[in-house]
């Protein structure tokens, strides 16, 4: 799969706005299998908006995004089959135990046990998540990355936040392992991450000025909501 379709995700001239404010414009990059892209920028620069656009959960963007050569939003059903997204909201339900949470994501019991053990949650498998700390809940969410059936495209919003030193190195190891197996990752992080090959995108380089904002709409052709 990786060799004949080198670019899984292609972003062409992407501009995002939110609440009438232009976040960034003219962003283009390609993501090949076995590669990672780190999105950097100040708070409010649009990192999360970019990730949410990439997963198809934000409608107001202009430009083109292609998944396996097919453009959004047509490609979204196929994208969802290959996507693992972890956002600010972890997707962990407090009323379930870590094991049950992972089972809800389709993990087998053995795989879930192993993943939780790797993330230092051994002994907490059957505790309700609402009784765990914030950091432990974060690790329950990240345990999805350690399941054997992990999908090829990972989109991670601040995966290293709220982790201790051991957790960070464990997760970096897993991300490197994912790349070495031909997977690909788009993630945001404030801290440097040791991954190769890693492409870094500074959102500040694509900050939208007023002129660009005017230019987008000048023709009055912006028919779509």
């Amino acid at each position: 799969m990786p060799s004949n379709s080198p670019h899984l995700l292609q972003v062409r001239d992407l501009s995002c706005e939110r609440d009438g404010r232009d976040l960034f414009a003219g962003l283009s990059f390609d993501l090949a299998s076995g590669c990672a892209v780190q999105i950097e920028g100040a708070n409010g620069a649009g990192k999360t908006s970019l990730l949410r656009t990439l997963i198809g959960s934000a409608a107001d963007f202009s430009g083109e995004i292609l998944w396996n050569g097919e453009s959004y939003p047509k490609a979204l059903p196929k994208l969802r089959e290959s996507l693992l997204y972890i956002g600010h909201r972890a997707g962990v339900r407090g009323g379930l135990t870590p094991l049950e949470n992972l089972a809800w994501y389709g993990a087998s019991r053995d795989a879930a046990y192993r993943a939780l053990e790797l993330l230092d949650l051994y002994g907490f498998e059957d505790t309700l998540c609402q009784q765990l700390s914030a950091g432990q809940n974060r690790r329950v969410a990240l345990a999805r990355l350690f399941l054997p059936e992990a999908p090829p495209l990972w989109i991670l919003d601040e995966p290293l936040a709220a982790l201790d030193v051991a957790g960070v190195s464990c997760l970096q190891g897993q991300m490197a392992c994912h790349l070495s197996r031909g997977g690909s990752i788009v993630f945001t992080s404030h801290q440097p991450v040791g991954l190769t090959p890693l492409q870094s995108i500074q959102l500040a380089d694509y900050a939208a000025g007023d002129t660009v904002a005017g230019g987008v709409f000048v023709g009055g052709e912006d028919v779509h909501a």
Binding site: M1, R18, S49, R52, I55, S57, A58, A59, P77, R80, E81, S82, L83, L84, Y85, G87, H88, R89, A90, G91, V92, R93, G94, G95, L96, E100, A103, W104, Y105, G106, A107, R114, L128, F146, P148, E149, A150, P151, P152, G173, Q174, A176, C177, H178, R181, G182, G183
Partner: protein
């Protein structure tokens, strides 16, 4: 670290059975949330004679209608939290991103919601009928009409709950948008009980309720799925 196989290329999605079991498990772990609508139902109906007087004939006339209206309100009150917790912890978004159609997730949630509100309400209704002096001929019909009707209420209410889940205080707004949609269920539910009390056949009304339920089961989760996609959009 290399315990893992190569990425399979397809994400494993939980089937309907897993979704349903998980929802049921969550509902059963929050027993207080199940009890509240039922307590509301009983309390308000106990207040009714205090408001209109204890005259048995008057209560008998109002019983079926009041029980139905209160069942409507009790369902509505419990509906607000249907998607709220999952929205706040991000799992609603994960459902929207799952390759599994959102339809099944909503259907599982609505079914569980009915099992923990509509079903107990229907089971409780004979007791309340007794308290409100409901004529004997109406009991069986009240039970079955509530059983069928409340399932439709859970499904239709899910659309409203999904539309308002991103709002911080949806309570009254949810009632405002869902109540008009409840009208046909209320009319045919009480109509069936009235027909039974008057000694007529009521299978036609129950058939209409069943038909409404079938249509709601097919369409309401679709609309709610669309509403979830709108609500989870940035």
């Amino acid at each position: 670290m290399s315990m893992l196989d190569a990425p399979t290329g397809r994400r494993v999605a939980p089937g309907f059975g897993v979704l349903f079991k998980t929802e049921l498990l969550l509902a059963l772990r929050h027993r207080a949330d199940i009890a509240n609508p039922l307590l509301f139902f009983v309390t308000v109906l106990a207040l009714l004679p205090l408001g209109v007087g204890p005259e048995p004939a008057l209560l008998a006339k109002m019983a079926s209608g009041m029980i139905w209206v209160m069942a409507l309100l009790a369902t509505l009150l419990s509906q607000e939290s249907l998607f709220r917790g999952d929205f706040e912890n991000g799992s609603l978004e994960q459902m929207a991103l799952s390759p599994q159609p959102l339809y099944f997730a909503v259907l599982a949630k609505s079914m569980v919601h009915w099992m923990v509100t509509g079903l107990p309400l229907a089971l409780l209704s004979p007791l309340l009928g007794l308290m409100l002096n409901l004529p004997a001929a109406g009991y069986l019909c009240l039970f079955f009409s509530l059983l069928l009707g409340s399932a439709s209420l859970s499904l239709v209410g899910a659309v409203g709950a999904a539309l308002t889940v991103a709002l911080s205080r949806p309570g009254l707004l949810l009632a405002l948008i869902v109540m008009p949609l409840y009208v046909p269920v209320l009319i045919f539910g009480t109509g069936a009980v009235q027909a039974a009390i008057d000694g007529y056949g009521y299978s036609a009304q129950l058939a209409v309720l069943a038909a409404y339920l079938a249509a709601a089961a097919a369409l309401a989760p679709l609309a709610a799925a669309g509403a979830i996609r709108i609500s989870t959009e940035t």
